[in-house]
Amino acid sequence: MSDVTQMNMIQAINSAMDVMMARDPNVVVMGEDVGYFGGVFRATAGLQAKYGKTRAFDTPITEIGIMGVAIGMGAYGLRPVPEIQFADYIYPALDQLVSEAARLRYRSAADFTAPITIRSPYGGGIFGGQTHSQSPEGIFTHVSGMKTVIPSTPYDAKGLLIAAIEDNDPVLFLEPKRIYNGPFHGHYDRPAKTWADHPGAQVPEGHYRVELGKASVVRPGEAVTILCYGTMVHVVANTVEEMGVDAEIVDLRTLVPLDIETIEESVKKTGRCLIVHEATRTSGFGAELSAQVQERCFYHLEAPIERVTGFDTPYPHSLEWAYFPGPVRIGTALKKILKD
């Protein structure tokens, strides 16, 4: 076991790429501002200096090109880790991602594969307006042939990213940028916390994996199961603590493939299920979770499944905190589900 260091999520993500680039000469990172500068969030800082310009490089501003080029590199035998600077910018790459990367193994009967990990910061709470705040995970969980991963701590971010890079299928690795520098309690008007005293910020310096497809019970409880991921794990945990509710909080970590066993076990135990995500509500991933829980746990449910989500509006700028599913909206839903 290598030495353990305190890292924020950016440092942990950087460390994952560093470890993988050192271990595997076929791992390359690329994207807009990713090379010399090290990324607008500094996730790739130092990698070009260490591994050279042919393994960590800037790209033209074309997400179609970034994804398409990554697929070609994968076909050659490389293991590309492209960055899409903001998840909001990923839409031009949809065809390359959905119709190409995600389908390549199937359509060629594994003659060609796409061992690509697409990293992209997502989510709001940073006054990013509608083009720097979206949570598009539900678009990608709907696509066959790709995996979707969202970490909530530096430790998980590094272990999951390493597992994603080592995976032989395309993985969308969405990084909750609101918690890059510290776990968010949900109160925008209170001082921000850093990762300093969080156990999830103790990160081994070397190689380790957090298996894809495994959720984590971050708080055991009896009264209600709360399914969440990314930033919302911390907002939920803080809200539950403030309200004194004995909730079981399940951090999904991987949305596809989903850890249905952990979910089922928890909901059958508590008999209640609240789903929390920041993404828009209609056809959001919460709808899939709700359907899965209903199909598997119907006779154990003591109250209707509740969803707390972003609204079906574009992400507003000035009204960001009215949009964000914070402690008030989560608290209201919790009271309702516990009363029923």
Partner: protein
């Protein structure tokens, strides 16, 4: 400009392109400028792309109307190589005829011929090294045929039968063969363009000697993928050859809907600062020479080349359309650049290396060959007649290992099939 000034202008008018000939019209291509064979200069492969812009507006031609190979672009292939080229083109045409008919006989769902465009893929495939990586579009079956991919395997794919290497998952003709340097074909257009660039960039980053080549139709140069690919390629000087097969028609939309009224497709290269060539796509020797030249540039770190192959799609887009419903039936015969097979044949005859009798005998032999291969392929089944792949295989290969939710759906389907007595 004030509102009053604008009031003096004629109203705006929207230009919607219209092809010159529609069904019932007599096709007349006499206005297409066809420079004489041999007239176009051949720059050194080390020359800067900016020094030969006129080549993007001209037409590289080697075979003249008298069957002679002339000028600086003549690749000076020996007679054996030319006969191999002719044979690959004739085999591709025979294969297309056979498979088109198989679709009409209900043996498969779909087929696409490359009639009239055989030189584009076969000339290129012969000029590339056998291990250079091709990212084709859907009408470059000639590459596989030139590289000696088994005809019966192509047919097995077309029939989606039990010997189909793609396990019945892909539309007919969407071949894939890593072993033969042929990337999995997509039905989505121009997606292969940036992928070819990525492959070429990887090859360069690894200090390899292999290059990549990719093909798309003139219609799909309108896709964003095309432009992203050219940007990436010029930025990193990627060792890639871009081929635009300008066969004049994208299903029923003529090349004007991709911008052909305003400029050539080869001229797209100029804005990106990469080498651009416009080539007589019905002249197999010109295609060979252009590809050889572009490959030399790529292999010596001179970067990408865009080649427009000026050709004509002599038949429908696929088995799903009737070209006489949208274009003049006289177009194929009026096409000023002739038929690629006939032109190479006449050249070989002129050289004294071929004759009509041998040609007729070869056509017969190739027709027999594809018939024989077809019989072999049909032993493995034809589409829609019986189960060629087990039901449960549908869920395999989505991921490297089958996740629980697909296993669950797989089981559900098997239970349903069983309950239904299937």
């Amino acid at each position: 400009m004030s509102e009053r000034d604008r009031a003096n202008l004629p109203p705006l008018a929207l230009h919607v392109p219209e092809p010159r000939f529609r069904p019932g019209d007599e096709a007349d291509f006499s206005d297409i400028a066809v420079p004489p064979a041999g007239a176009t200069r051949r720059p050194d492969t080390a020359d800067a792309a900016s020094s030969f812009h006129e080549l993007a507006y001209g037409l590289v031609r080697v075979l003249d109307d008298g069957g002679n190979a002339v000028g600086p672009w003549d690749p000076r292939l020996d007679a054996d190589a030319k006969r191999r080229m002719l044979r690959s083109m004739a085999l591709t045409r025979a294969f297309d005829e056979r498979m088109f008919r198989a679709q009409r006989q209900g043996k498969t769902s779909f087929y696409m011929k490359s009639t009239g465009e055989e030189a584009v893929s076969i000339g290129a495939a012969m000029a590339l090294a056998g291990d250079d990586m091709c990212f084709p579009s859907y009408r470059q079956q000639g590459i596989l045929i030139t590289r000696g991919y088994p005809i019966v395997t192509m047919m097995n794919q077309i029939y989606s039968n039990k010997a189909d290497p793609l396990e019945g998952r892909q539309l007919p003709i969407m071949y894939s063969s890593k072993e033969y340097g042929f990337f999995s074909i997509s039905g989505n257009l121009a997606t292969q363009y940036p992928q070819a660039v990525g492959w070429a960039m990887a090859s360069a980053a690894k200090g390899d000697t292999r290059i990549s080549a990719t093909w798309c139709g003139e219609g799909s140069t309108a896709e964003g993928d095309f432009h992203s690919a050219l940007t990436f390629a010029t930025v990193y000087k990627a060792p890639v050859i871009f081929n635009v097969v300008n066969n004049q028609w994208a299903i029923s939309s003529f090349s004007g809907f991709a911008g052909a009224e305003a400029t050539t497709f080869a001229a797209r290269a100029i804005g990106y600062g990469i080498a651009g060539l416009r080539v007589d796509g019905n002249d197999a020797l010109a295609v060979y020479a252009a590809t050889e030249w572009a490959a030399e540039r790529a292999r010596t770190n001179q970067g990408p080349t865009l080649i427009e192959h000026f050709t004509y799609r002599a038949e429908g887009h696929s088995t799903s359309d009737d070209p006489t419903a949208y274009r003049s039936a006289g177009e194929p015969n009026a096409w000023p650049l002739g038929d690629p097979i006939r032109r190479l044949k006449e050249h070989l005859i002129k050289l004294g290396e071929w004759d009509e009798e041998r040609h007729a005998a070869q056509d017969l032999e190739l027709a027999e060959l594809v018939k024989r291969e077809q019989k072999e392929a049909e032993k493995n089944g034809i589409l829609g007649h019986g189960m060629h792949q087990p039901f449960e295989s549908m869920f395999e290969g989505v991921f490297e290992t089958i996740p629980w939710h697909l296993k669950e759906q797989q089981q559900q389907m098997l239970d349903e099939q069983k309950a239904a007595g299937l």
